[in-house]
């Protein structure tokens, strides 16, 4: 007889978990959850997939039959005809193969291509410590010097010009430091700026010619009208953003100022500039700038455009930085005041470092917009990528080419702007998480 209470079998170890059913794992689960979760989704997914397949089916032959090696559009079509295809059955990417250097560099002398490339590398190197906070802060000195080197590499001429420009800034900085021992900080800043200006107005050209006489440091000069393509877009965009930052900071501070006159001047400037489209400002630079300058002065159109775009960008940057200033907790301002810091000390050491840091993502977004807007210079006759494309279309060899050029330009813009947008998003998330 068995003991009635005792069960016949007792499991002493836990069973291993059964594998989940096929429909609840891996790719099947993913498809069910993300593509076919409801009848509506099933219909939508199939419609979209059908449309995508149709588009791919339509475009694929054009891309796959593309001709990459040819001298002209006619040659391209001959090659296509030789393989039994009509003139529009295949793309003619040979135009990009043939003219990529013009799309990238415009009419910059081809033996000097290393200069814009090196300038770009230097600029990116200078940008790195600003964009990535983990790099050592001492690299910021390099960031300050990089724009001068880029200027020299792009336009050429005497290296003493950018060196003298740096010298002027150093003189102004030293003057501020020395003067602030005796004067209030506002007066010291004004004095320093005045001394710097005096150097630029009086001593600059004589210093350059003097130094050039003792120790010549010249490379071949390149006129701005030879700039073109993406290099021109990058030159205008990057110089405008670099030059507009200090101006934008000053405007933002002025707009937040307690002094009504200064505040209202800043507001009027910012609103007028932002209220009128860039294209109108560019036409102003082309048609009207000569009216505003003393009779007889005239200078390079590229330079005029850079000045105009800088002023334009400064107004937008000022609004972005104003947002950063407004986002700072009030305690930061009050803390700085209670430490007895003067306005400029507080701004320089407490307010701006924090405000600028939280504005970087928005500044990057402004820059994306600005870089895209540089395409508008084609309307006043500069050879930006679209202008170069039109010039290429006007040549006898490539007359009638269209989609290939614009696809190429669009793709390049997309890659650059998309990368920047991703960076800005990444930074935004990082700043939101931590307080570092």
């Amino acid at each position: 007889m068995t003991v009635p209470n005792k069960p016949a079998f007792v499991r002493t170890e836990i069973l291993p978990a059964k594998a989940p059913p096929v429909r609840a794992t891996g790719i099947t689960l993913w498809v069910r959850k993300n593509l076919l979760s409801s009848w509506l989704n099933v219909i939508l997914t199939s419609l979209v997939l059908y449309a995508l397949i149709r588009i791919t089916y339509g475009l694929w032959p054009w891309l796959a039959n593309g001709v990459w090696e040819a001298d002209s559009l006619a040659h391209c079509r001959e090659i296509l005809a030789a393989s039994g295809l009509g003139p529009t059955d295949g793309a003619c990417f040979a135009v990009i193969n043939d003219r990529w250097h013009q799309l990238l560099f415009g009419f910059y002398p081809s033996e000097l291509y290393w200069r814009p490339i090196l300038a770009m590398i230097l600029f990116l190197g200078g940008l790195a410590p600003i964009l990535f906070f983990s790099l050592p802060r001492s690299l910021l000195t390099f960031s300050c010097l990089a724009p001068f080197a880029c200027f020299w590499l792009l336009w050429g001429g005497s290296a003493w010009v950018p060196l003298a420009a740096i010298g002027g800034l150093v003189i102004a900085g030293l003057a501020i430091r020395v003067l602030s021992k005796w004067l209030s900080s506002t007066l010291a800043v004004c004095g320093g700026i005045a001394i710097g200006l005096i150097f630029y107005l009086i001593g600059f050209s004589s210093f350059v010619s003097f130094a050039e006489g003792i120790f010549p440091l010249s490379i071949q000069q390149v006129a701005s009208r030879e700039f073109g393509g993406f290099m021109l877009a990058a030159t205008i965009g990057l110089s405008a953003i670099v030059l507009s930052l200090p101006l934008g900071i000053l405007l933002a501070l002025a707009r937040q100022s307690d002094l009504p006159l200064i505040k209202w001047c800043a507001i009027v400037f910012i609103e007028v500039v932002r209220g009128v489209p860039l294209i109108v400002w560019l036409f102003t630079a082309q048609l009207l700038l000569n009216y505003f300058l003393p009779p007889g002065t005239s200078f390079d159109l590229t330079l005029r455009v850079i000045i105009m775009v800088t002023l334009f960008a400064a107004a937008y940057i000022a609004e972005v930085i104003r947002g950063g200033l407004a986002a700072l907790p009030k305690g930061q301002y009050e803390g700085a005041d209670s430490l007895g810091l003067s306005y400029w000390q507080a701004t320089r050491m407490i307010i701006l470092p924090q405000a600028l840091k939280i504005s970087i993502p928005a500044i990057v977004n402004e820059f994306i917009g600005l870089f895209k807007d540089t395409t508008l210079v084609v309307f006043i006759g500069l050879l930006d990528p679209i202008g170069v494309a039109r010039a290429i279309q006007a040549t006898p060899e490539w007359n009638g080419i269209y989609w290939e050029l614009f696809t190429f330009i669009g793709l390049l813009f997309f890659v650059v702007c998309y990368a920047m947008a991703r960076y800005s998003l990444h930074l935004e998330n990082k700043l939101r998480r931590g307080h570092n």
Partner: protein, 425 residues
């Protein structure tokens, strides 16, 4: 020490202008004012000097001189004998037309894509993301040029509609013809117009039909009155619901007050649809929407739509998930949760950047230059300058127009912000 300085009459010293905070603000402003005034004076002197060197003066009288050029799209009456001012007005109307059309289309596209972007369907979600990124990362000018080229290349010429073996055909029951020159859509005409009659040829012989501003004003007035009454009905229903808990019959009444008077007026005016038809090598009658307008409109709305989609997505995501959960816990149905809980809160985040996107759309419409659309920059800031040589005056007026437009839109944003601000402390 302090007692001593207080008792003796304070003597003003020149240094106080800088070191005493009571005077320093004034000193700085006086200096700044001096600098600003002298730079304005410098600019003014330069302008005066340059103008006299060129033998010109500053004079707006050119606005009343005959323009002498034609404009291919006009919303108000215009011919080349009319003045430059009138031409500028035609340009302004064209700018406003494409801006308003663009804002409407961009809002629809943006809201639609923004909601798709939040879809749990992966393919839809990705597709929306690709659209948004593609349009945000490529310059608008490139899109305008590209879309214009697609319209020119892909659409049939009017002659393709001809003959027995026509390669193209009209859409929507033969009422709309989309050609490489532009789109021909039906227009409304009135047989019983109150603003005079205009002879118009329609397909089956000659029929007397006309349309005038007065007719449209009448219809618009009826619509306006209808919607005001409908709004009043809603307010009344809301009031009664909050007092008694019973909501009176509203929607059918609202539809009635809007539709019935408008329909009556349309019937009274004898509104008929005039369809475009093929005449010779081109289409006649109907309303002709030029390819330039079509391309600009499409590009502007697709480009701005991508930005609006991100705003809509961000706005909906900004509403705390707890709000949704709480609403569901209260027993509200999902559509009501969206309509009563999520959207009103999301709107506060969405509306201000939405309006500022409208503003940038209006400013971007100046890229009309790329497709030859006759906006205000093309008339006042283009041909008028070339014909009169008055670039200073014309550019100033052009800038002023855009400035007034943006200040108007900006004040709408400010008004909205102030009215919808969360009341804190």
């Amino acid at each position: 020490m302090s007692a001593e300085t207080q008792s003796s009459a304070p003597k003003f010293r020149i240094g106080q202008l800088i070191y005493d905070t009571r005077y320093r603000a004034k000193t700085i402003q006086v200096i700044a004012g001096f600098i600003i005034l002298s730079s304005i004076w410098w600019l003014g002197a330069n302008i005066a000097g340059n103008l006299s060197a060129l033998g010109k003066d500053f004079n707006l009288a050119f606005l009343s001189n005959p323009a002498g050029y034609d404009i291919n799209q006009k919303l108000i009456e215009y011919d080349s004998k009319m003045s430059h001012g009138r031409a500028a007005l035609v340009g302004i109307m064209n700018t406003l037309l494409v801006s308003v059309l663009g804002c409407i289309a961009a809002t629809f596209i943006g809201v639609f894509v923004g909601v798709l972007r939040l879809s749990d369907n992966w393919v839809i979600n990705r597709l929306a993301a690709v659209y948004v990124e593609a349009f945000r990362s490529v310059p608008l000018l490139l899109w305008i040029v590209f879309i214009f080229a697609i319209l020119s290349e892909a659409l049939p010429q009017p002659r393709d509609f001809r003959g027995e073996d026509a390669t193209a055909s009209m859409q929507l029951f033969d009422s709309v013809a989309i050609t490489a020159r532009g789109a021909y859509v039906p227009r409304v005409a009135f047989t019983n117009s109150i603003s005079g009659n205009e002879v118009v040829a329609v397909k089956d012989g000659i029929v007397e039909v006309a349309s005038g501003g007065a007719d449209w004003a009448l219809i618009f007035a009826a619509l306006l009155m209808g919607s005001t009454t409908a709004y009043w009905l809603k307010r009344r229903a809301d009031r009664m619901q909050s007092q008694t808990g019973q909501r009176p019959l509203t929607l059918p009444l609202q539809i009635m007050v809007v539709v019935v008077p408008t329909a009556l007026i349309l019937w009274f005016l004898g509104a008929t649809m005039v369809q475009p038809y093929l005449k010779g090598f081109n289409f006649a009658e109907g309303t002709f929407i030029r390819k330039s307008l079509l391309a600009l409109w499409l590009a502007l709305s697709l480009y701005t739509g991508a930005f609006i989609a991100e705003i809509v997505r961000g706005g909906i995501m900004s509403v705390d998930n707890g709000q949704r959960e709480a609403a569901l816990a209260l027993g509200l149905r999902p559509d009501k949760v969206m309509r009563l809980i999520i959207l009103p809160q999301a709107m506060r985040v969405i509306i201000p950047p939405l309006i500022s996107n409208y503003l940038s759309l209006a400013k971007n419409s100046s890229l009309a230059l790329a497709v030859g659309y006759m906006d205000v920059r093309a008339t006042l800031g283009g041909i008028t300058i070339n014909q009169t040589g008055r670039e200073l005056e014309a550019m100033l007026l052009l800038g002023l127009f855009y400035l007034v437009l943006s200040l108007l839109i900006a004040s709408v944003i400010n008004f909205y912000d102030r009215s919808k601000q969360i009341q804190e402390r």
